[in-house]
């Protein structure tokens, strides 16, 4: 039994007369400690899938179990409760509160859980030093770079040791140096903390850091690749070629 089990997930937008099926029956199983990438062309429904999996958006059909909790029929407040205990998020546009300092932003998830201040400080030091943002703690988001913002966002996702971390194009707004920096940190956190990460990306280089990459197309899983024992470079080539096939097929339409 994986940490996340999703069966036949559907998601439609619009109304009865003008229905857009974005997800049409996605089955997905993620094991604890995995670093899973989700790829697909723009508009293929990656963000939608991530939002549905992470309880931010409701599925139109299908069931999702996270650590054996069925989240598909939870009430709004139960979902919030669930998110605060089990999930962490990293987004493309950082989603930091710009009126809070780096430290205050990172400590938010602990503040929801009313963790004692001492313990909060300890956890902060641990995660902030791992991500190299210790010196930034009293700065405001407007005073730091994009890469630093994204690391702050990652620290916030990791600090309360959630079961799963969802990341939507975390490197999308970063230059390649900051991007690889962040991805290195993410994979080391994945390794050290046994943190499960689900990351949406359209960048093959970013995807090559994952242990498994799932491709979606037309609202369904098209195929998936396992890294196995390969080097990252080799895995990157695999991803590139699969992506080529994916867009090649698309061109035939």
């Amino acid at each position: 039994m994986g940490i996340l089990e999703a069966t036949r997930i559907q998601k439609n937008y619009g109304n009865k007369f003008n229905k857009q099926e974005v997800l049409r029956g996605v089955d997905l199983s993620i094991e604890e400690g995995e670093f899973v990438g989700i790829m697909g062309s723009s508009g293929s429904g990656k963000t939608t899938l991530l939002n549905v999996l992470s309880s931010i958006d409701r599925a139109s059909g299908g069931t999702i179990l996270i650590q054996n909790n069925e989240i598909t029929n939870m009430k709004e407040n139960q979902l919030a409760e669930f998110r605060k205990n089990h999930l962490g998020f990293v987004f493309q546009d950082y989603n930091l509160l710009d009126t809070l300092t780096v430290k205050e932003n990172i400590l938010l998830p602990l503040s929801i859980k009313k963790v004692p201040k001492k313990e909060a400080d300890r956890k902060f030091e641990e995660v902030a030093s791992q991500l190299g943002i210790m010196e930034l703690q009293n700065k405001y988001p407007s005073e730091i770079s994009g890469g630093q913002k994204q690391r702050t966002s990652a620290a916030r996702a990791f600090i309360h040791e959630p079961s799963i971390i969802f990341a939507d194009e975390p490197t999308g707004a970063l230059d390649s140096k900051s991007a690889s920096d962040l991805l290195n940190k993410l994979s080391s956190l994945n390794a050290n903390r046994k943190a499960t990460i689900v990351m949406v990306t359209h960048d093959p280089a970013a995807a090559s850091y994952c242990s498994r990459v799932i491709f979606i197309k037309d609202g369904q899983i098209y195929t998936q690749l396992n890294k196995g024992q390969q080097e990252r470079q080799a895995f990157f080539k695999d991803i590139m070629s699969t992506q080529g096939v994916l867009s090649g097929v698309q061109n035939e339409h």
Binding site: L107, L110, K117
Partner: protein, 647 residues
Amino acid sequence: MSINSLILRNLKKNLRNYYLYVFALIFSSGLYFAFVTLRYDKAMDPVEGSIKGGAAISTASILLLFIVAVFLLYANTIFIKQRSKEIGLFQLIGMTKNKIFRLLSAENAILYFGSLIIGVALGFAGSKLLIMILFKVTGVEGIASLSFSSRALLQTLIVFLCIYALIMLMNILFIKRQTILSLFHVKSKTEMTARKLSVFQVIIGVFGIALIAVGYVVSGKLFDGDFSSMIELFGAMFFILFCVILGTYLFYKGSVAFLVSLIRKQKGGYLNIKQVLSLSSIMFRMKSNAMLLTIITTVSALAIGLLSLSYITFYSAEDTAYNYTGGEDFSLLTESDADTFRQAMDDNNIAFTEDKAEVYTVQLNIDDILQTELELNFNASMMDTAVISEKAAGVDVAPDELKLTGYNELLQRFMSLKDEGDVTVHGKETETALHYTGLEDEYPISNYYTMGGLPTMIVDDALFQELKQDINPDLNQGYHWYFGYTIDDDAQLQRANDLFNGLDLEARDNSESRIDILEDQKSTIGLTLFIVGFLGLTFLITSGCILYFKQMDEAESEKPNYTILRKLGFTTTDLRRGIQRKQLFNFGIPLIIGLLHSYFAVQSGWFLFGSVMLTPMIVVMVIYTLLYSIFGILSVVHYNKVIKQSL
């Protein structure tokens, strides 16, 4: 697409954005028109001419003009900000800035003058209502038939045309200054970028609080005798205004951020949701709105202060009237007048209670108990004072003691008395040394003897009899009896008053009827109170609306934050609590500062207006706070909607 159809399309599409703007317009034009109509109405002529009303009304209309202009300009800022994206889009598709400006102006003109017409119509209806209230309050006889005044209409039109021109000017500047890119960003970019507090800001913050404190301290000393000449007095008032207003500005500019940052520092980076939503947001936003908040605070303080002072006057009228008659409904001065009065009451079956006192005037040396630094042009060792016996006053005074009672608040300010001390009573021949033991509040005898609020002395009955034998005839040429009557049944008071006014009395001119005095006072104060009330309400509503609009705008720009917080697992209930806290600050801080300002303003000079401060001031403050809270509650309701939509 022709420019005309573009305008219409826009109008339709943006109707929801417009409603605030339209509301602001209708409200302010209605108000303004109502005010000018009243001003030019014939029915107002007697009141306007009779009292200093003329000056009051002109001042009021200038103030009204100012606040209306600020209000409309602010509404327009929000309005154009909401539409910045659209303007950017027009530019992107190749419209020139000139053309966009024409488009906006035309569209704005439709809205503006449409609302103006509605406003004027509503204002006219409103002014009828107002004039009815006015006559109710002042009791001035007059027909509440108001005619449509073309002069009022003309003035309203001219004023609003000028404001329209200002708005257009503002829009030109807005469009000229913006590039396509920045127009797209205006909305998403919050009004601030959070940065660490600079030393400069800390200095500003501390300085702001210090300035306000200095202003308050000086205001407390205003009439204490430190400023004796008129020039010094005006200088001090100007200084206070300057300190307090600048201090308020700096307070918003720096002190709020400074204080909040102290709290935050103490939390060591660990904030709960309430603090996240309230502290962090006001810390930066108040700073960028310092000017607006200063205006709102000053306007509120002005409104509360003026309302309090006029209500103090109005409220004290009752007191003053009682003090005039010695605490009764009627006061008479001779035995035969008293007979006539009692007879008239008995004939008409009106039950009453009588209270009488024999009154003589003696000279009193109060040098020893006087406590003032002012140079007074009277002789404190020979002060004419009315004396009555302890029996008539219904209190007990020891043979070697003396009590004073019924000393006017205003006089007390300039000639305050110590708590106790030795005084000497001068009769015609003898001098009696007595010990003064304190001041009482009651006014036992009528104004005829107390001459506008000088204290009456109460002595032991035996001493009173002695003094009576030795009075100075020069000082006691008039009456020496006081008869006070209180009608037992309030319902009969009016009839008793009519009878009283019909009586043929020896001392007609010096016999008083409390309700006549009250009536007289109320009609004088009523108009002032009415104008001030009208202005106060306007100030209240406009400043409430401005804050509310600002909060709607802020809610929009903070929506992404709510999304983030909800994703992190905060529930809508958590967020709502945080927002309630935030609004408590957003509305509470300007209110509290406004209340404080007006409190200090009122307490520095209230005694010039009446005899009771606390009750009327508290009544005004509580009502103001309640009405003002409505806007806070409305904004919370609005936030709740935004929070709900945010995920």
